[in-house]
């Protein structure tokens, strides 16, 4: 039998199940914690660092998406310090690649853009790196623009965990990290790709999009992945 625990989230006592993460418990109780790499229905990787929370008695911030709850845990999900850190994380994402919302197919429907607006990112305090990055248009139906990729790896997990094709991976280290399809083949030549499009629906930005949509036109079905997972698990 699953062990029931009681935790405090922003002062409120909440009943949870041991093994659940802080993010899952918070979202189940309608407490919003921002996150970009987390997607319901996929495994959590703790990559984007936007869901960092304060845990009493723990000296450093912890990612809510990968930290399991335990009896008596007390969590603060929003504070001036957390807001400041989240803003920095967002600005660094913008500085890392070439995010030009004005000409992006996902403008108006982009999770990165929405979070930036929510966190008052009006400008970026760090120098942009302006990397010269390719656009993979080789797939007949979809396009991958590395300029807009934040390396959240939601596409990697959606493809591997839901579709079972594992076309995508992240290759390279540090700032040289790049999303690659099938051992660095062009997407259109990836024989394991089933063209199901789950990666596109999982992508939080305009990095992956259906071909042919103009600026602001690429809306995504955000619930596709979690719905498929829940169907599979029969819940």
């Amino acid at each position: 039998m699953t062990e029931k625990v009681k935790v405090r989230i922003d002062g409120e006592v909440i009943a949870a199940t041991a093994g659940q993460t802080i993010l899952e418990v918070a979202r189940a109780s309608n407490t919003y914690i921002p996150a970009l790499c987390y997607m319901e229905g996929l495994s959590a990787v703790g990559a984007c660092r936007l869901c960092m929370v304060e845990i009493s008695g723990v000296g450093r911030l912890q990612p809510a998406c990968t930290t399991p709850v335990q009896e008596g845990l007390a969590v603060v999900t929003s504070s001036p310090q957390l807001q400041a850190y989240r803003k920095i994380a967002l600005e660094l994402l913008f500085a890392e690649r070439n995010h030009i919302c004005a000409v992006c197919v996902s403008s108006g429907h982009c999770e990165l853009q929405t979070l930036a607006q929510d966190h008052g990112v009006k400008y970026v305090r760090y120098p942009y790196s302006f990397p010269r990055l390719p656009i993979d248009v080789s797939h007949p139906r979809y396009v991958l623009d590395h300029n807009r990729c934040i390396l959240c790896s939601r596409c990697v997990r959606a493809c591997a965990e839901i579709e079972g094709a594992h076309v995508w991976d992240v290759a390279g280290r540090g700032t040289q990290s790049m999303l690659v399809s099938e051992m660095k083949r062009p997407w259109g030549e990836a024989t394991s790709c089933t063209s199901c499009g789950k990666c596109v629906q999982a992508c939080p930005t305009g990095a992956m999009a259906e071909k042919g949509w103009g600026v602001e036109e690429m809306t995504k079905h955000r619930t596709t992945v979690s719905r498929l997972t829940s169907m599979r698990e029969g819940s």
Binding site: A102, V103, P134, I135, V137, K211, G212, G214, E216, E217
Partner: protein
């Protein structure tokens, strides 16, 4: 030898500089127009999917983004090899007419009216829109109202006034809202009244500028514009026509796809703006002009009653082919009349409310060319794509580019007429700037460049030393 520099030329779109070279006697011996910015849209769009080109290239300009959008979506239509649904073509033309109205209003009232209504020699501190407000408040209000009408129509159709995402390859992404149609139809008469009032005023005023009419690019060139199969004025779609300075048709019904056989582009040593020329005549003899005056010289008629009546009067006053660049202002008002009448025709057609407004397709052609008549003249977008739709090559020829040679020559003509190197007067230098303004150049567009507005005028002596400089604040 002495050189005068006007740096920057004010009340134009983009950065430009004029240098005037004086000989030992203080007479103007040369004058040049330099565009001092570079942007590189043709290069940095390489590799991007073709369907992103409308939104990217519309960022070339905030004054006429609609023009770039439309030229770009037309080029993309060709890459997709689709026929745009008829209602979508009508809606695009409607949007374009609204854009012509707002842009012509901006050029005439906001940018040039300070010279035209307050006088070329008026105190530069007051020769601006604030001075206009004091002395000609009604004219200024008319100008603002007209531009507002154009901009609000664009917003009603496309949801955004600047850089809308409504026009897409294959058509537009939403049908016309019947309420937007009613509202625009209701506002049209007031806008038409503004243009009529302004035309009446201008017809009384224009002959008070005999020297400017005489010396503002008043020389023979060819003219280029789009015309319909019947030779009538076309703004959104048509074939290219070149006419000579004598009115004879030099080349007619050139399909936009064949533009490169007729238009060459020369690079100039002292400007980032290329100089297109009529290829069969070579460079620089193939000088031609585009824009409102050129279009009226090129077209047999406008095709709408009020505009045709105005055009007949214009031709009666100045001849079948009007050479003076000063008359770009007059031509702009006649075109605004046409654009408003055309809007009325388009909105009166119930088919404009049809909800089939977009054709979907992939890459069915490796090349696409889109040509429209932007407010400032013929605008050409030309793309090549690979099999997957990534841009491999792009070429944009923008209205101000076509006029580059004529503006350069016009600057010399007006400088020789008005500038006396022994006694430089601000009013004389302003006329040099005003010549540039008559063309309503968009330097941001023409170099696909970035930045603010200004121009510099430099006066240099025989040894090349700068003797005097007039820069705008």
């Amino acid at each position: 030898m002495t050189r005068i520099t006007i740096d920057h030329v004010t009340r134009i779109e983009g950065h430009g500089r004029i240098t005037i070279q004086l000989d030992d006697m203080g007479k103007v011996c040369d004058a040049r127009f330099h565009v001092t910015q570079i942007r590189g849209f043709e290069k940095f769009t390489e590799g991007r999917p073709y369907y992103e080109m409308p939104s990217i290239t519309s960022r070339i300009c905030g004054i006429c983004p609609v023009s770039h959008l439309l030229a770009s979506v037309k080029a993309c239509d060709e890459i997709m090899a689709v026929r745009v649904p008829s209602a979508a073509a009508k809606l695009r033309e409607l949007l374009h007419c609204a854009q012509i109205v707002q842009s012509h209003a901006l050029s005439f009232f906001h940018l040039s009216a300070p010279d035209l209504l307050l006088g070329m020699d008026a105190d530069p501190a007051r020769r601006n829109i604030a001075g206009l407000l004091e002395e000609h408040p009604d004219a200024l209000r008319d100008g603002i109202a007209l531009r507002k009408f154009g901009q609000q129509t664009i917003e009603r159709l496309a949801r955004e006034r600047v850089h809308p995402s409504w026009t897409v390859p294959g058509g537009v992404n939403a049908p016309l809202d019947p309420q937007a149609r009613e509202k625009t139809l209701a506002e049209l008469p007031a806008a038409a009244a503004v243009v009529q009032r302004t035309l009446a005023m201008w017809k009384k005023t224009v002959d008070g500028f005999p020297n400017e009419i005489d010396a503002f690019s008043n020389f023979p060139t060819m003219y280029l514009g789009l015309v319909g199969p019947d030779g009538a004025l076309r703004l959104y779609d048509g074939n290219l026509r070149f006419v000579g300075s004598d009115g004879a048709i030099v080349a007619d019904q050139i399909r936009p796809q064949d533009y490169a056989s007729y238009i060459g582009e020369a690079s100039l040593p002292d400007s980032y703006l290329k100089a297109p020329y009529y290829r069969p005549a070579g460079y620089p003899d193939g000088i031609y002009r585009v824009g409102p005056l050129a279009r009226l010289n090129v077209a047999d008629r406008c095709g709408t009653p009020d505009a045709d009546a105005e055009l007949a009067e214009f031709r009666e006053r100045y001849g079948r082919i009007v050479q003076s660049g000063f008359h770009y202002h007059y031509a702009r008002l006649i075109e605004a009349t046409y654009a408003l009448e055309r809007m009325q025709q388009l909105l009166d057609d119930p088919a404009i409310l049809d909800t089939k407004v977009r054709a979907h397709a992939g890459v069915n052609s490796s090349e696409g060319i889109g040509v429209i008549e932007a407010p400032r003249g013929t605008l050409i977008h030309h793309y090549r794509v690979d099999d997957n739709g990534a841009i491999t090559w792009a070429n944009l020829i923008v209205a101000t580019g076509h006029n580059n040679l004529a503006i350069g020559r016009g600057v010399l003509q007006v400088a020789q007429r008005f500038v006396d190197g022994n006694k430089i007067q601000e009013g004389a230098l302003n006329r040099v700037s005003a010549l540039v303004r008559a063309y309503d150049p968009c330097l941001s567009c023409s170099t696909h460049a970035l930045g603010l507005v200004p121009l510099v005028l430099e006066l240099r002596g025989p040894d090349g030393q700068v003797l005097d400089e007039l820069a705008t604040p």
